[in-house]
């Protein structure tokens, strides 16, 4: 199977440039073997090497007093008190999920869970951020619905069986993701401070063990290879997406944690992308050691596998363990108890090289640093998109032209004719506008999705899905962790830098709204091709925006993932950074939820509203303005003052920690009116509650109701607490204004002296609750029947 010679075609088929190949020869001082070429090609791939993003990523803040493990390991770790640490990370599985939504999403969940328990942490929560094309798209709606149904079923299949609660996330629909859906999976685990494990091949002479599932030919990167080297038939049979087995992963989790507790493990890493290659090379490089592996010893489920195939297989549910010398028997016995393979396949050496043996032949011998530290790094050309990022009179960045055009603008008829925002209030039916927003899949209840996820297993979920942030308590302490996963592709398309700042701020605000102090961030950076200068420019802008916001909010980035090449036929996605924010609740009994609690409570807005309808959900849904139109018209995103943001967050957090708040809810997509409606909706143990609110009439009515000014939180409280609350807000430097009162069955919103919205809450709620499920009804039957 090995070709006699490595031709330029073979090199190209490995996605290596001729310059990169020359560099390999220079480093080795000779021609690589075929196995070595395969190893270099995956280790130097964008996915493993971050070659296009690394020069930018280093601008992100990664340090903080609570950071225990910064980026570079399988997951980041922060201290959460009492000797406990939280390990967390978000990772993309975009491409596989488009090819095969169910298994693509399932294996995405499997991969991120392994990243967590590799660190010695037991996964206690999962979330996911999903983006698809519009469900009601006339041409592609059916495919988009099938993708959503498949992805959700895949996540449910894996997470539910594994036994990790899927507690939150986001689901967004936009034409830009029609051919490139995004599936970003987040997981968080808990570990004792002194029980953290690393992916290091420590201790020369220590045995290297292969544990978990057997190796097959699935997912070998060579699937992209030209035909000459592979048997045609084998290629055709090889699935491009692996199949996940959550049952096996659950056993792997228990066995790994047991082996770690037993003190037998010196280092451990999961075999994710690039399988045995990346795990062995990275473990060796991190320790500054070498490893020698005999592939003949690797458990295999197919016959006649070559060394090349074994090294590059991406079979799921496998780990590489470096055991302490003399403890290998113990590791093997523990894995046998869980009916899993555990085999010594090599040892740690002091040579600094990764050596691969197979059937008595020495097929690779590469200094591990060539595969990691010496991997190429590119500072790729950047160019602001056509027209550049202009700065308007007020200093706000505004959009220029656009390089990425969504196929069709939303078909929703414009509510107020072409005059759009300028329509006089008297001509706008705001009740109807609110109904349409509540029914739009982006704002409607996602219960159709999260009802399919077991979000309560492990009995720690103190705030259920559907909230600003999920809360998972730490049973052994009084504390809890809050977590939120947020992105906003529309904002980042209009202005990547401002959009990224807004996303970080919103993620932190979400966590604050449940009463948690934001601690740290993980990010998943989803972009189109880095080889296009406009994309690389937007990437750089996003990094700078994120860095600024994370710095200001004292939330360092501890882990993350970059996903480039999210484009099809020259059409790319919006720049879509997804932020996973983790916060700490000091006392789980003080957790705050978003729903109003009782008639008579006062409603107040912390923060102030501006004329911020531009690029809003109202513009997209009610006025039917697509992103390309927004950019062409010079739309801008709302401006974010990080000082104001901090003040608002500080006020809400202090009030929550003092137990003054009956409810708190972030005001974001859909603005104040949507946020108010959501506060009124029924929740576990209480029916719908009405409210009457009066907002002043300084702004246009549409902006007052639906504008998306950041740094705003809607709170409710007992009247007797008003003075204390006002004092806290004043001390924090945050504006707070009482705007109304909870009561009755209707939601009434007056702007100035005009009543713009008045309807039974239950009517709003029915529309909001049933919208997504109704669109998906037909799809569920079809998918389940397949």
């Amino acid at each position: 199977m090995n070709p006699e010679t490595i031709t330029p075609e073979v090199v190209a088929a490995h996605n290596l440039t001729s310059e990169e190949f020359e560099r390999i020869k220079e480093l080795l001082g000779r021609e690589p073997t075929f196995v070595e070429l395969g190893v270099f090609s995956v280790m130097w791939s964008e996915h493993c090497s971050y070659k296009s993003s690394r020069v930018h990523l280093k601008r992100l803040p990664t340090e903080g007093e609570r950071v225990i493990v910064p980026p570079g390991e399988n997951a980041g770790i922060v201290d959460v008190g009492d000797g406990w640490c939280a390990a967390f990370k978000v990772e993309s599985h975009n491409h596989p999920s488009f090819i095969e939504p169910f298994q693509g999403a399932a294996t995405g969940v499997g991969g991120i869970l392994r990243d967590i328990f590799t660190m010695g942490a037991r996964p206690v929560a999962a979330m996911n951020s999903l983006r698809f094309g519009r469900l009601e798209d006339p041409k592609h709606g059916r495919r988009n619905r099938a993708l959503l149904a498949g992805v959700v079923a895949g996540i449910a299949h894996y997470g539910n069986a594994f036994g990790v609660p899927t507690v939150g996330g986001e689901v967004v629909f936009d034409d830009a993701y029609g051919f490139n859906p995004l599936v970003n999976a987040f997981a968080l685990g808990l570990v004792r401070h002194d029980q953290i494990f690393f992916g290091k091949a420590a201790g020369v002479g220590n045995p290297v063990l292969y544990v978990g599932a057997k190796t097959g030919r699935d997912g070998i990167h060579g699937a992209t290879m030209a035909s000459a080297e592979f048997d045609e038939e084998a290629l055709e049979k090889r699935p491009t997406v692996q199949v996940g087995d959550p049952f096996l992963e659950k056993l792997l989790l228990e066995a790994c944690l047991e082996a770690m507790r037993a003190g037998a493990v010196a280092g451990i890493q999961d075999m994710g992308a690039a399988g045995l290659t990346s795990s062995s090379c990275e473990m060796a490089a991190r320790a500054g050691n070498g490893v020698e592996l005999d592939l003949s010893l690797v458990p295999q489920r197919e016959e006649g596998m070559t060394a090349y195939e074994i090294m590059l297989s991406e079979s799921q549910e496998r780990m590489l363990i470096v055991a302490h010398s003399g403890r290998e028997r113990q590791v093997i016995d523990i894995f046998r108890k869980w009916d899993l393979d555990a085999v010594v396949i090599g040892r740690v050496t002091g040579t600094g090289s990764v050596v691969v043996l197979h059937e008595g032949q020495r097929l690779a011998d590469i200094p591990s640093k060539y595969l990691t530290d010496e991997a190429p790094r590119y500072d790729r050309p950047m160019k602001p998109r056509d027209g550049g990022e202009r700065v308007d009179d007020e200093g706000f960045a505004v959009g220029g032209g656009i390089d990425v055009v969504s196929p069709a603008p939303p078909t929703a008829p414009a509510l107020a004719s072409d005059s759009g925002l300028q329509a006089p209030d008297s001509e706008v039916d705001f009740n109807n506008a609110l109904r349409r927003l509540l029914a739009s899949p982006n704002l409607a209840s996602k219960s159709w999705v999260y009802r399919q996820y077991d979000h309560m297993v492990r009995t720690n979920t103190a705030v259920l899905p559907g909230a600003d942030a999920a809360v998972v308590r730490i049973k052994e302490t009084r504390r809890a962790l809050a977590m939120s996963l947020d992105g906003n592709g529309r904002y980042c398309a209009v202005s990547p830098r401002e959009g990224a700042r807004l996303v970080v701020a919103e993620a932190a605000r979400n966590v604050v709204c449940v009463g948690a102090r934001p601690l740290a961030v993980t990010n998943c950076l989803n972009f189109a091709s880095p080889e296009r200068p406009e994309v690389m420019w937007s990437f750089s802008e996003v990094i700078d925006g994120m860095a600024e916001a994370c710095e200001a909010l004292s939330t360092p980035v501890v882990s993350g993932n970059v996903s480039f090449y999210n484009e099809t036929e020259g059409r790319g996605i919006h720049p879509t950074p997804v932020i996973g924010m983790v916060g700490l609740v000091e006392d789980v009994r003080r957790v705050v939820t978003q729903g109003f609690k009782r008639e008579g409570h006062l409603v107040a807005l912390v923060g102030t509203s501006g004329e911020d309808l531009s690029a809003s959900e109202y513009e997209a849904t009610v006025l039917g303005r697509g992103v390309e139109e927004l950019i062409a018209s010079g739309a801008r995103v709302p401006s974010l003052d990080l000082g104001r943001e901090l003040a608002v967050q500080r006020a809400v957090l202090l009030a929550a920690e003092e137990g003054l708040l009956q409810s708190a809810h972030d005001c974001s997509d859909g603005g104040l009116a949507v946020a108010l409606a959501e506060c009124c909706f029924s929740s576990l143990g209480r029916g719908a509650l009405g409210a009457t609110v009066t907002l002043d009439g300084e702004l246009s009515s549409a902006a007052t109701l639906f504008g998306e000014t950041p740094s705003r939180v809607l709170v409710s409280f007992e009247e007797s607490q008003r003075t204390r609350l006002e004092r806290i807000a004043a001390q924090a430097g945050a504006p707070l204004k009482v705007i109304g009162r909870v009561g009755g069955k209707r939601l009434r919103i007056n702007v100035g002296s005009v009543e713009h919205i008045s309807q039974d809450v239950s009517e709003f709620e029915t529309i909001w609750r049933d919208s997504l499920g109704d669109s998906m009804q037909a799809e569920v039957i079809a998918t389940a029947a397949e």
């Binding site: 079923a153 449910a156 539910n160 069986a161 594994f162 036994g163 087995d245 959550p246 049952f247 096996l248 659950k250 056993l251 869980w338 009916d339 219960s447 999260y450 009802r451 399919q452 996820y453 077991d454 979000h455 309560m456 297993v457 492990r458 009995t459 979920t461 103190a462 259920l464 308590r473 049973k475 789980v588 009994r589 576990l684 143990g685 569920v780 039957i781 389940a784």
Partner: protein, 232 residues
């Protein structure tokens, strides 16, 4: 009194059951590995939720052939108390300790949410501290919870007062909308003829603290603990 929580490969509510017994019931409890065959140390055994053996073949089917289930049958035959929750209920049906079967939910996919169930009988070791007709808010989390049985079994369950819980609305009325998974006659839980084996789809162990949204599940464990205390 001592509780045992059975652990199959793939069980994932084992820790939750253990937590409730040790923390909220305040009684000694052990995990019991699926290869164990000696249950003589226990007064009550809980078969927890999860995906035993990956639920391959059919939910609960493989677990019913495990070494520990042979012992659970003997244990139940001797009058030992057995509580099967969710996957545990499926295993009890597959093992023949309870009649009927649990098939795919009516709407075909996994459902996780709080539901209401009505206490149909207090004449069991698991419900005697509850009120007949009392409505409990308990979470469900399953894809195969749609209870089916033949007419003969159904008559038997009814005439012998063995339907312990039915799905209902918050007011205690049973109708199609509240029948979350399409179960025959809204059945959420049943007991054995000797009444010492209870299987139910909802998760009472997830509803023992207000922090988690409901503490209505604690009545079951309280009843069982009181039963055990009286027996000894």
């Amino acid at each position: 009194m001592k509780f045992g929580v059975i652990v199959f490969p793939g069980s994932n509510c084992d820790h939750d059951a253990y937590h409730v017994i040790s923390k909220h019931v305040g009684q000694p409890v052990d995990f019991v590995w699926h290869r164990e065959t000696d249950l003589s140390a226990y007064d009550a055994v809980i078969i927890p939720g999860g995906f035993s053996y990956g639920d391959y073949l059919r939910a609960g089917a493989l677990a019913s052939f495990s070494p520990v289930m042979a012992s659970v049958k003997e244990f139940a035959g001797r009058g030992g108390f057995v509580l099967g929750i969710c996957n545990g209920f499926q295993i009890l049906c597959e093992s023949g300790l309870l009649p009927g079967a649990l098939i795919r939910n009516r709407e075909l996919h996994f459902i996780c949410q709080h539901v209401n169930v009505r206490v149909e009988t207090t004449e069991t070791p698991f419900t005697h501290e509850l009120r007949a007709g009392q409505v409990l808010s308990l979470p469900v989390a399953h894809a195969e919870g749609n209870y089916v049985c033949d007419d003969e079994t159904f008559e038997e369950l009814r005439s012998e007062d063995r339907v312990v819980f039915r799905y209902c609305d918050p007011a205690g009325e049973s109708g199609e909308p509240s029948n979350i998974n399409g179960s025959r006659d809204h059945i959420a839980g049943i007991c054995s003829r000797e009444r010492n084996v209870l299987g139910l789809m909802p998760h009472p162990e997830r509803a023992c603290e207000d922090l988690l949204g409901s503490s209505d599940g604690s009545g079951l464990f309280r009843s069982l603990a009181a039963t055990l205390a009286a027996v000894r």
